[in-house]
Amino acid sequence: MAVENAFASGHQNQPKIKILPYSRMVGQQQIKLALEIAFIAPQRLGGVLISGQRGTGKSTAVRAFSQMVYDQLPVTLPINATEDRVVGGWNIEALLQGEDDWQSGLLTAADGKLLYIDEVNLLDDHIVNIILDVTSTGVLVVQREGRDQTTEKVSFTLVGTMNPEEGGLRPQLLDRFGLMVNVKAESDITQRVTILNNVLRFDEALGDEQSKWWKDSLVKNQAQMKKLQVAQQNFSQVEISDAMIRLCIEVAEEFKAQGNRGDYVLVMAAKAYAALHGNGLSVDNGCLKAVAPLALQHRRPDSGQGGWTDEDNQALDQLLQ
């Protein structure tokens, strides 16, 4: 049988897709902090889950961040993905010709980078199981469609976005995310008006790469990127005292974080925060206060799918006094 590849390759050689620049994202400080911390302390932290209301810029933030730090859109696992594209499968056109040509999947493509799942709570259960398996073991084992078993180590930063109105995540998957952000729509009027202005300016810039606004945005992006790179380099030099580690464990205990990952993630995130914000390269209470909600809110047994209240903040302040 002759082979026809009817799928147009029109997507090749397309101009780079523009996303609203990261430096032009207004507000949403928690999203930015979580993504930056995950970049500074990658893989070891376990990734970021961004959950929140519709239209709060979750997907845009992730894509903008990836374009800033990797100069490309993130490796994305869409909700229509089939298993062969996740773990790898045969090139169908080659197969029909009698040739064996194995295509690596998205999990391999994301090795060392960011794997982004938009609408992660709408993902097929079967695909979720695969991701759980790989993120917990760090090993991708593929034995399917007649191919001999292969084993490869993969490590990526998993980033997911979701609207909790459409259902929550299984606890096992929720636990794979080191940090969680609960996003709410911006309420400050100044910020809201600025958002509107920025988006309209972005609409204009889509047709004009030479626009001053666009160039300014890229300059600011580069400045932020340098800051993150410096922080990443300094991460391993950040000191954390035994007393601070003990405090992290106490905080995790106080908020009834399940399992052991909570205090571990808290320590790593606090170190990353210290690396990002200077702090004399040591972790202090301020670092802990900034990252505790991100590290702990989704690990509490009665928190549903996250959520950090004013009472939680007060309790945290008490502990950190």
């Binding site: 799928f7 997507h11 397309q14 523009k18 029909l96 998205l106 008006v193 202005n197 920025n198």
Partner: protein, 636 residues
């Protein structure tokens, strides 16, 4: 036809014009539009998009049946060759723009709904299926209809609805504020009757030249953001319940198009107001309204430097600074003769209702309605609802034969290498098996017969609650038979309400009914129930495994069945009504798969009747515990 269209629905046409001009508005939801209106709107959209974008416009339609394979792509057999066929939604790229028409959003397939969520308003689209990979900037325009008069918006996930930037409606305002039919509406109907109405004529529509010119002029410029416009937009969403960045952006973009259509290079407050009027938004408070100042907004006015904005002409051609384009004004002759002088004169017809109806619509959908249904053990191998996709399987139940064949076809070259005489046959292996993935269908049904004449001071709702909860968990179909309700025009008859699940608003309304009648057509109520049960168990693609029948009554049916059916009560009645009810109950008891329970309100008179009825039904009986007297006193 063109004459009719130009007067068909001004806010609708203007809204479509805005969507054609502004890529950020190319997801249009039209509430309560007839199918004819939607098709005309689609044609107008196609013409305008072609004029603005110079792209090839392809129309596709999504409905109930589309699967993921249809939308994202699949292997197909063409001219004796197996080839990958891109899906209908993967081809809107580059110089081809796809106009996606969804006639009824409440009936969209789950695959379609998930695709909308993934693609609508997205900067980038991804395909990772069956060996195919793709990443592209989608070039799509969406036009959907959605009924809303009876709260149907509650059937659609708000996560999906939120993706629609532009909300319009077919103005039903045929009458003015004092209830008089507007003369221009009469003229519209005459024009409509005068035109020869044939569906083919929709395809013959051409863009009126004046509109085409206007589009061309407006598409040449871009009206710039102003602080005044930004504040005004924020004013319209001062109510935090309705606020969302997407909604504000949509209003701003609509205002921008209004400015461009007016030939103005800056977006003014009036453009925002006109945009809000088009979609039916109300103003909550204003930043410049001295009667209702807000402390936060006062700060904003004082310190505009916080806003990262430059003068609008920074990046624009300086020669155009402050210059208004010489364009003809929008032709909008409103016949004032039928309108009271007290009414405000608006250029655009008002869409009278809230455009974000999902905020108030009662929920009539399941939780996590965009997720594929969990596989339930009872369904495995049993088939189920409509096909929504295919998935690998390890047995031959509900086999998707074609998908299985295509899966096997991929490996034939390898499998035939060492197989003699197999050239004409497909060689299958267990891994090739594919079965249909189906939507959930109800396997259970909850039938309720409620005698409203005996429920005074009875906590019957609490007694019924466990059954309602069961119906929700089991996604059961629901039948509610009401006996003796106040609103029943014919008090000799019971009435029946059906719903696909317990979330149907009609069930809620039915349960909230009250009694005001003395007639208790219990026999008719049971007879209606018997007919429903028989029909459900014996007809169609019945998948029901169990029916729960809950009867709440004191057994004192005082209307003979014959009287209910004949519409006339012949005295004396005596025990006939009660005996008729018992006779029907015995027929119900003979039905298989029906488990019945009588909830006994414990009447003070004829207290044995509920027990006798339960025996006739073959039902269990449970007492409804009455309010304790102290509870009644504390409420008083």
């Amino acid at each position: 036809m063109n004459n009719t269209i130009s007067k068909l629905s001004n806010s609708l046409i203007r809204g479509l014009t805005a969507a054609a001009l502004s890529p950020g508005l190319r997801s249009v939801l039209v509430f309560d539009a007839t199918i004819n209106t939607l098709m005309i709107a689609a044609k107008m959209m196609e013409l305008m998009l072609g004029q603005i974008t110079n792209c090839q416009i392809t129309r596709i339609q999504l409905g109930v049946v589309e699967t993921e394979e249809d939308l994202w792509g699949q292997l197909l057999l063409r001219n004796k060759q197996i080839a990958w066929q891109p899906g209908s939604l993967t081809r809107g790229q580059g110089q081809e723009l796809r106009l996606v028409i969804i006639p009824d959003l409440t009936r969209l397939s789950m695959a379609g709904a998930r695709a909308c969520v993934a693609l609508m308003g997205a900067d980038v689209a991804y395909l990772e299926r069956h060996g195919q990979r793709g990443e592209w900037q989608p070039n799509l325009c969406w036009l959907a209809g959605c009924p809303s008069k009876k709260g149907e918006t509650g059937l659609v996930s708000p996560h999906l609805l939120d993706r629609f930037a532009l909300r319009l409606s077919e103005p039903a305002a045929a009458v003015n504020a004092v209830g008089e039919v507007r003369p221009e509406k009469i003229k519209d109907v005459r024009d409509f009757l005068g035109d020869v109405w044939q569906s083919e004529q929709v395809e013959d529509l051409v863009l009126p030249s004046e509109l085409a010119d206007r589009l061309w002029q407006a598409g040449r410029v871009r009206a710039a953001f102003t602080l005044e416009a930004g504040r005004r937009v924020v004013d319209y969403f001062a109510d935090s319940k309705s606020y969302s960045v997407r909604r504000e952006l949509a209003l701003l973009r609509l205002a921008q198009v209004n400015a461009q259509l007016d030939g103005v290079l800056q977006i003014k407050q009036s453009h925002v107001d006109a945009a809000a009027a088009m979609i039916g938004l109300k103003l909550w408070e204003t930043t410049t309204n001295v009667r209702k100042p807000s402390p936060v907004i006062e700060e904003l006015i004082e310190d505009e430097s916080q806003i990262e904005t430059t003068l609008p002409n920074d990046d624009m051609d300086q020669s155009s600074e402050g210059k208004e384009l010489d364009l003809p004004p929008i032709e909008k002759k409103v016949d004032q003769s039928g309108i009271s002088n007290d009414q405000p004169k608006r250029e655009v017809e008002l869409s009278m209702e809230n455009p974000y109806r999902e905020d108030d619509a009662p929920v009539q959908r399941e939780l996590a309605s965009l997720r594929f249904p969990l596989r339930r053990l009872r369904l495995s191998g049993q088939g189920g609802g409509a096909v929504i996709g295919v998935e690998p399987t390890t047995d031959v139940q509900d086999l998707a034969i074609v998908s299985t064949i295509f899966e096997a076809a991929k490996y034939q070259k390898f499998r035939r290498v060492n197989q003699i005489g197999s050239e004409s046959r497909l060689i299958f292996q267990p891994g090739d098996l594919r079965r249909y993935r189906r939507a959930l269908v109800p396997e259970q049904m909850l039938a309720m017969v409620i005698d409203y004449t005996c429920l005074q001071n009875s906590p019957w709702q609490a007694a019924l609650l466990p059954y309602l909860q069961w119906a929700y968990v089991e996604r059961a179909k629901v039948c509610l038979v009401q006996v003796g309700v106040a609103k029943n025009q014919d008090e000799l008859r019971a009435q029946k309400v059906m719903a696909n699940n317990i979330l149907g608003s009609q069930i809620g309304h039915g349960l909230a009914s009250v009694s005001g009648r003395k007639a208790t057509p219990l026999a008719h109520g049971l007879d209606l129930t018997l007919a429903v049960l028989r029909h459900t168990l014996q007809h169609g693609r019945n998948r029901l495994e169990q029916i729960a029948l809950v009867v709440i009554t004191d057994g004192r049916g005082n209307v003979p069945l014959q009287a209910s059916k004949g519409g006339e009560l012949i005295f004396p009645v005596g025990r006939v009504g009660v005996d008729d009810a018992l006779q029907v109950a015995r027929q119900i008891s003979r039905l298989k798969m029906v488990k019945a329970v009588v909830l006994n309100p414990q009447p003070s008179h004829y207290s044995d009747l509920p027990v006798i009825l339960a025996k006739a039904l073959g039902a269990k009986i449970a007492d409804i515990v009455p309010h304790e007297s102290w509870e009644v006193e504390s409420e008083a």
